[in-house]
């Protein structure tokens, strides 16, 4: 009994290994119910769903590790996609080449994201509004403006090449998808190997200690919210490519998916804890559940129930681990003492 518990404990202590197991079990389950699930087409679809979610979830990972929260990422996806769509439509009508238009489109999306992030950063670090409220404000303003600007409908009229870009080219990955993988890897290194990441953990772990150690914590937090905004802007651009237009409903509820991915990935909302690899797998699990349930013909609303259970499990594990009581927790799970 003890050995099972010990082995299980070392696996449970490694959130990434556990997530990988959960993911593989899901793939096996969905495949057993419908073999079509195990195909390039489905994997390509899952990755296409995953890419924009993982972008905002990575930004959210930095934010949550620093002890904050960013509720505005979903709205930022919408508004940046819409503004970029307007920009690309007018560039196209003015005869700008598709390539130039698409490149300028990225810059516009990222720029809108930067702006929202900068507003969040200002509210949080200059006016001392708590992150939850500050980003609630920009969340409401962003999604509202996206609908006001568009009248609620999609904005097309950009280059026709956009939608071709989102077709899988390398395995299940499209070229923009590969770009997102590169961004994720780079930011993973930045979080786990560079000073930027270390300060992020330090602030989330003990902001006073970080400041006392001479870190300009406000400036660092400002950078984190701006980073989150830029990533949401890029995510908005990705939706534009997928749909061939800017829709004010893109990214709807994205903030909750991002937070879910981060929490399932093992981060603590109290700050100081979390890993990019966890977030990557968390987002992959979310999108796998979505596609899988559709393919095995389960009503889409069950997805929310499954996600709820995953979040609850992740939080329970977190609780057990941070209290250092995982062994006791597991002893209760794995040993049957009347």
């Amino acid at each position: 009994m003890a050995t099972i518990a010990t082995r299980a404990k070392s696996i449970l202590a490694n959130q990434q290994a556990l997530l990988l197991i959960v993911l593989l079990v899901m793939v096996a389950f969905f495949t057993s119910r419908n073999h079509i699930f195990f195909s390039n087409a489905v994997f390509g679809n899952i990755i296409s769903d995953w890419a924009p979610i993982v972008l905002i979830a990575i930004g959210e990972t930095f934010v949550i590790i620093s002890g904050g929260i960013d509720l505005s990422v979903g709205s930022t996806v919408a508004i940046s996609g819409v503004v970029a769509a307007f920009a690309m439509r007018s560039l196209t009508t003015n005869g700008t080449s598709p390539t130039t238009t698409l490149i300028l489109g990225v810059l516009v999306s990222a720029g809108v994201g930067f702006l929202v992030g900068a507003i969040n950063a200002f509210l949080i670090t200059k006016t001392n509004v708590v992150p939850f409220i500050a980003t609630l404000v920009t969340m409401g303003a962003g999604s509202g403006l996206a609908i006001v600007f568009t009248g609620g409908g999609p904005i097309g009229g950009g280059p026709d090449q956009a939608i071709q870009l989102s077709v899988p080219k390398v395995g299940p990955f499209s070229y923009p998808g590969l770009g997102i993988v590169a961004v994720v890897v780079a930011l993973g290194l930045f979080l786990h190997k560079a000073r930027f990441g270390r300060y992020t953990y330090a602030i989330g772990s003990n902001e006073f200690a970080a400041r006392a150690a001479g870190i300009n914590t406000k400036r660092h937090l400002a950078k984190i919210y701006i980073l989150s905004g830029i990533l949401a802007g890029l995510s908005g651009y990705y939706y534009y490519l997928r749909l061939g237009c800017g829709a004010p409903t893109s990214g709807l509820g994205g903030e909750l998916q991002a937070i879910a991915a981060v929490v399932i990935g093992g981060a603590a909302l109290s700050g100081g804890e979390g890993r990019i690899s966890g977030t990557v797998l968390g987002a992959l699990i979310l999108t796998t559940v979505t596609s899988g349930l559709i393919i095995i013909n389960v009503a889409a609303n069950w997805k929310q129930v499954v996600v709820a259970i995953l979040i609850a499990a992740a939080v329970l594990l977190q609780e057990a681990r941070t209290k250092g009581s995982s062994s006791k927790f597991l002893a209760n799970l794995f040993t049957k003492k009347k």
Partner: protein, 253 residues
């Protein structure tokens, strides 16, 4: 007497309508340990925050080696060689021992990666170990996270970090809090070693026997004012306690 190493003159600090410090002056010389004592609410923590740059005084001036200084943030004081150990909150528990020792002073890897902000983790791990060792603090592994250490070990790391980085002044706020007798003894030895190195040490403590044991001079605060500033030899436990509580109204020197 020669120029003081660190000196504050006529410091006042108010939070809204509350005067936490009122016209406080004190000086410390190189190689000297002063004890800063007072009852709860006497203004010790506020004075520590002003001395370390965490808060800015409402009035008064700060001199380091005779030169007037203005601390805008703890960073300014750290760079100038004034290191502070804050009571109970000096470390980031999720980070490793070495990450804490090097927090704000990270070493970067060589070449292009270093320029991009990538850290030289192994070097910092071994250097942190060596630094703590040098000031007489043994920590099992410097890559363990601080949350896995015992209370005494955490305190040791916090003190070790402050002592190993301080080049002029070190301010220790309740460094022997929550420690057993043996660990407290080790901490006091580290403090004496810092004095031998020529540092000026400001030792804040409620544990009066420790204060009487290691300090050269004692400054007593009461209700935001300095009510005594005299060599430790002029106090005994009874008179020190009396001065702190206000039963004795002696203003020495």
């Amino acid at each position: 007497m020669s120029t003081a190493l660190y000196e504050v003159k006529n410091i006042s600090k108010s939070y809204g309508s509350v005067d936490a410090l009122n016209d406080v002056s004190l000086k410390i010389h190189a190689g000297e340990i002063i004890g800063l004592v007072g009852d709860n609410g006497a203004g010790k923590s506020t004075l520590v925050k002003v001395l370390s740059g965490a808060h800015q005084q409402s009035n008064g001036t700060i001199f380091l080696e005779g030169v007037e200084r203005k601390w805008e943030s703890p960073h300014d004081a750290l760079v100038a060689g004034v290191e502070t150990l804050y009571q109970d909150s000096g470390l980031a528990p999720h980070l490793s021992v070495s990450a804490n020792v090097f927090l704000g002073r990270e070493l970067f890897s060589k070449g292009i990666f270093g320029k991009l902000g990538f850290l030289a983790k192994k070097e910092m791990d071994s250097a942190a170990h060596a630094n703590l060792d040098k000031v007489g603090i043994a920590v099992p592994q410097s890559n363990r996270s601080v949350s896995q250490l015992s209370g005494g070990q955490r305190q040791a790391v916090a003190i070790g970090r402050a002592v190993s980085w301080a080049s002029k002044v070190i301010i220790l706020d309740e460094p022997t809090n929550h420690l057993g007798a043996r660990q407290a003894g080790e901490v006091l030895a580290v403090i004496k070693a810092a004095k031998e190195r020529g540092l000026g040490v400001i030792f804040i403590s409620h544990t009066l026997p420790h204060v009487l044991q290691v300090t050269d001079r004692i400054v007593v605060l009461r209700l935001g004012k300095v009510v005594a500033d005299a060599p430790t030899s002029t106090f005994d436990a009874q008179s020190l306690l009396g001065t702190i509580t206000g039963l004795i109204e002696n203003k020495a020197e």
